[in-house]
């Protein structure tokens, strides 16, 4: 039923979407035609990005896309090294490692570009005209329906802390290991900074002997197999994508406050194909691109007006209001997360709470 509804909305939106082309300066389009190529470094799996790439190609068939599906760390390492060597590198960088992206931007690697599609872009989703937050991906609870009934799954940190201390949940809960995963650090630290109830939850993780993972893949795999019943704090976007095929997976949103991250995109200042990169940025921010994200690619869109399974509206509805969502802003403030003392502040708490050290 729900699915049918989405399908209808989707069909409607596709019809609309087909008609709306991204607003781009004709001069940029002409210049991009001459460039004929676009190199993207992205942490988005090719399998979920493919729909976007195909659609973009249908708009601008003259642009040959080289899409590099890399880890967030590899994106940073390669881009920095290649730029230092003056070698060919990415024109467009699109990654969920917010600190690393903002660090690159603040060190002057980004090309300023006022995208015509970013006119009413949320202020916490842009760093001047240098970098743009393209998504709003909530941290959610993913659980296995074979072992937990939907009504059993708590939606607040407090009740979650209670549930996981039941004997049957011992060793059955998974979350990020912020000491081994950069993205995990970003999410859990934001949780810690914003929501006091997280501290009790962290201690409950310790008592429940929660397994700590360095990658989404491993954690999800073990929820799917039932080795863990639930995982806390992983991206809702990946969860939606997996849920499409794995019917056993359930998703629960936190109604006492949800952290969301943004996939940050920027154009390299030394891009060999800056105009093609501008077109791609326009496209990602456009209603058409954002619609495709919300319906097909299942990467939560950033545009507030988009409706669909993976959209801000859907998140607000699931968590009970816009004020319940803390979207980590794309701003220089996030660089504080790279300060050793600041990192240690959170990690010391974490070690104490979870590992009793």
């Amino acid at each position: 039923m729900k699915f049918l509804l989405w399908l209808l909305v989707f069909l409607g939106a596709t019809v609309l979407g087909q008609q709306t082309r991204p607003i781009s300066d004709p001069a940029v389009v002409e210049a991009a035609r001459k460039e004929g190529r676009l190199i993207i470094y992205s942490s988005t799996d090719q399998s979920s990005a493919q729909a976007l790439l195909n659609d973009f190609r249908s708009l601008y068939p003259f642009i040959q896309i080289e899409y590099n599906d890399l880890g967030t760390q590899q994106i940073y390492d390669r881009f920095v090294s290649e730029t230092a060597a003056g070698a060919r590198s990415a024109d467009f960088l699109w990654s969920s490692a917010m600190e690393l992206q903002v660090k690159l931007v603040s060190e002057g690697y980004a090309l300023a570009y006022d995208s015509p599609e970013a006119k009413n872009w949320p202020s916490n989703a842009r760093l001047e005209n240098l970098a743009y937050g393209t998504t709003m991906e909530p941290a959610v609870i993913v659980y296995n329906k074979r072992f937990l009934k939907p009504e059993e799954v708590p939606t607040t940190r407090e009740s979650l802390a209670r549930l996981i201390q039941e004997p049957r949940m011992r060793g059955r809960v998974a979350t990020w290991d912020p000491e081994r995963s950069g993205v995990g650090f970003t999410i859990l630290k934001a949780d810690y900074d914003r929501f006091p109830a997280f501290q009790e939850l962290a201690r409950a993780f310790g008592r429940a002997q929660a397994a700590l993972y360095s990658s989404t893949g491993a954690a999800f795999e073990k929820v799917i197999s039932g080795e863990h019943y639930m995982a806390y704090g992983f991206f809702g976007s990946y969860a939606l994508l997996r849920q499409r095929t794995v019917k056993d997976l359930g998703i629960a949103y936190l109604t006492d406050g949800t952290v969301a991250i943004q996939r940050v995109a920027f154009i390299s200042r030394r891009a060999a194909h800056p105009n093609a990169a501008k077109l791609f940025l326009d496209y990602l921010l456009s209603l058409r691109g954002q619609n495709l994200m919300a319906y097909t690619a299942l990467i939560h869109a950033r545009r507030e007006s988009v409706v669909g399974e993976a959209s801000p509206k859907a998140i607000y509805q699931a968590v009970g209001g816009k004020d319940k969502v803390f979207v980590i802003p794309v701003s220089r403030d996030i660089l504080r997360n790279l300060d050793p003392a600041e990192r240690l502040r959170f990690l010391t708490f974490w070690r104490q709470a979870v590992k009793g050290q």
Binding site: Q46, D77, E82, E99, A218, E227, D248, R343, L347
Partner: protein, 567 residues
């Protein structure tokens, strides 16, 4: 020895050896040199502001987590020695010397774990023996519980030990084959049974091979990456290679100087172990020549009624270490969901394979892998042949080459990949090939130098030099004498080496991660990239394709008479 060396030099090509040593040195030392340089700096070496400092080493050597990782690596390495050396030697003795049933089949299957990448084996072990695994399920329904875990350091040590049995088996089997049969004959005539003979005659004779493979196990223990990455994740068990991930996460961005310092520390440990190995064994030739004459083979020892029991032991080993994990991976590639409470028939699908062949990067990965493994394997074979010849005939230069060619495998694959990225970026003449498969091939060739050179050294040792020397006496040039005298005899050994390299290049994974560009994807590097974001079923499907490729090549190889034990 002395005479040979002089002869080689008298051949007129005095510049050949230094040139070879220079080339190998450049290839091996360039990436390690960059790492060493980086480890002594305060910032990335390409950053404008940096200074020389020992800060990185100070940090690492004051980090308790580093020592914990080091301890775990050592434990795993020792576990591998304790498990793989006895099992590997026992299996070698059974297969080569006794009338074990199905010996031909065991000979082939025993090598399987070498040819599957450890990440895959790790996933296979989780699907089969993990808390939700299918084997665990059966056992739990029989016993009411599962008496094991696979996520602790001892468990990882056992799994690593089991999966490294073939390495020991290969070395010991090739030595046992060459053991002077008359000594064993004497023992039997004197009335010794098969095991008394094994303990009193064969064992002392193959001791060098045991020492060699024991230290090799320690070495491989320190290099282990895929297995602890997959199996140690949930409990946060770190070994020296996965400790690098922690460094990055703790600092929040890439701490190149720390990563480099850790890598240099690992290289130093490896170098020490190699020195120890050489010290215990003397030079390469020594350990084979001491074995004595071959040719007249003893008939196989009768095991009597015990032969079926021993076959059962081998079968059980293969079941646990090879068959069940591979079944696990294949199963995972064919289902949407798994674990207790899942009716597997309901979740069967071929969708994951369809996805591989519709996504351009994944389908390219399959074809690129085949290309790199076949053509690339051939090119690196030629390179290794030169190095092996240099080692065999090069005297002091040869010893230098011998040490040089032992280094690369010690650097953790991911760091080696990063170092190669830097080499291809900052060594300007190499820049044009960075985004081609050639860069990948060079990196693979360097990383697999220890393995490849050993294969070819062994092949060279097996052919006599008589033909070549005869040709030289008859007035042929050294090159001509080699081409017409020795090379034809080497044909079998070269073919075998090429097959083995092909298989290793198909399974190689971490080195390619930084050299991967849109267009030069390979299966192994894609698997590492996918592991981060979660598509385990796609990984399993890619891995199954990898296993099928390797399996087919292996069958083909054994069909046309390639015998890895021969090396």
């Amino acid at each position: 020895m002395e005479a040979r060396g002089r002869q080689f030099r008298k051949g007129g090509k005095i510049w050949l050896l230094p040139l070879l040593a220079f080339l190998v040195g450049l290839l091996v030392l360039a990436p390690i040199g960059i790492l060493l340089y980086q480890s002594l700096l305060s910032a990335p070496f390409f950053a404008p502001a940096k200074r020389f400092t020992l800060e990185a080493y100070r940090y690492v050597f004051h980090d308790p987590y580093f020592f914990e990782a080091l301890k775990n690596s050592l434990m795993i390495g020792l576990g591998m020695v304790a498990l793989a050396v006895p099992l590997g030697s026992l299996f070698a003795f059974l297969v080569v010397k006794t009338d074990l049933p199905f010996a031909r089949w065991f000979e082939l299957l025993l090598l399987a774990p070498i040819f599957i990448s450890p990440i895959i084996l790790g996933i296979g072990f989780i699907v089969a023996f993990g808390p939700s695994g299918f084997v665990s399920g059966w056992v739990a329904s029989l016993l009411g519980g599962v008496p094991w875990t696979i996520y602790t350091v001892p468990a990882i040590a056992v799994i690593a030990g089991l999966t490294h049995v073939p390495y020991v088996y290969l070395y010991v089997a090739s030595t046992i084959q060459n053991v002077d049969a008359s000594l064993e004959e004497a023992a039997r005539v004197a009335g010794a049974g098969p095991f008394r003979m094994a303990m009193t005659v064969t064992l002392p004779l193959v001791r060098p091979a045991l020492i060699y493979s024991g230290i090799l196990m320690l070495l491989l223990g320190f290099e282990l990456f895929g297995l602890p990455l997959v199996l140690g994740d949930a409990k946060g068990i770190m070994v020296v290679t996965t400790y690098l991930y922690r460094l990055t996460a703790i600092t929040g961005s890439s701490a190149y100087h720390l990563m480099a310092a850790v890598s240099i520390a690992i290289v130093s440990i490896a170098l020490l172990l190699v020195l120890l190995q050489r010290f215990l064994l003397g030079r390469t030739e020594g350990r084979f020549v001491a074995v004595g004459t071959r040719g007249h083979r003893l008939e196989r020892l009768p095991l009597g009624r015990l032969r079926w029991m021993w076959a059962g032991v081998l079968g059980l080993y293969l079941l646990v270490a090879v068959v069940l994990p591979i079944l696990g991976v294949v199963l995972r590639s064919l289902v949407i969901s798994w674990g207790p409470g899942v009716d597997l028939l309901e979740v069967l699908t071929l969708a994951h394979y369809r996805e591989i062949f519709t996504l351009p990067n994944l389908s390219r990965a399959v074809t690129n892998t085949l290309l790199v493994a076949s053509v690339g394997g051939l090119l690196s074979l030629v390179f290794y042949l030169f190095v092996a010849l240099g080692i065999q005939r090069g005297q002091a230069w040869g010893r230098f080459l011998d040490y040089l060619s032992g280094i690369p495998r010690a650097v953790p694959g991911l760091v080696m990949g990063l170092a190669f990225l830097w080499v291809f970026l900052f060594v300007k003449p190499l820049a044009p090939i960075r985004e081609t498969l050639l860069s990948l091939l060079i990196a693979y060739t360097v990383v697999w130098t220890p393995y490849g050179v050993r294969l070819l050294t062994a092949a060279l040792l097996q052919v006599g030099r008589e033909m070549e020397e005869a040709a030289r006496v008859a007035g042929a040039s050294p090159a001509r004498a080699f081409l017409n005298g020795t090379l034809p005899l080497l044909r079998g050994g070269l073919l075998t080496a090429w097959f083995l390299l092909f298989i290793q290049f198909v399974r190689e994974y971490s080195t390619g991660v930084y050299l991967l560009t849109s267009g030069t994807e390979v299966i192994g590097a894609q698997i590492v990239a996918l592991w981060g974001t979660g598509a385990v079923e796609i990984i399993a499907a890619l891995a199954t394709i990898q296993v099928i490729i390797v399996g087919l090549v292996f069958l083909l190889a054994s069909r046309i008479g390639v015998r890895p034990q021969g090396l």
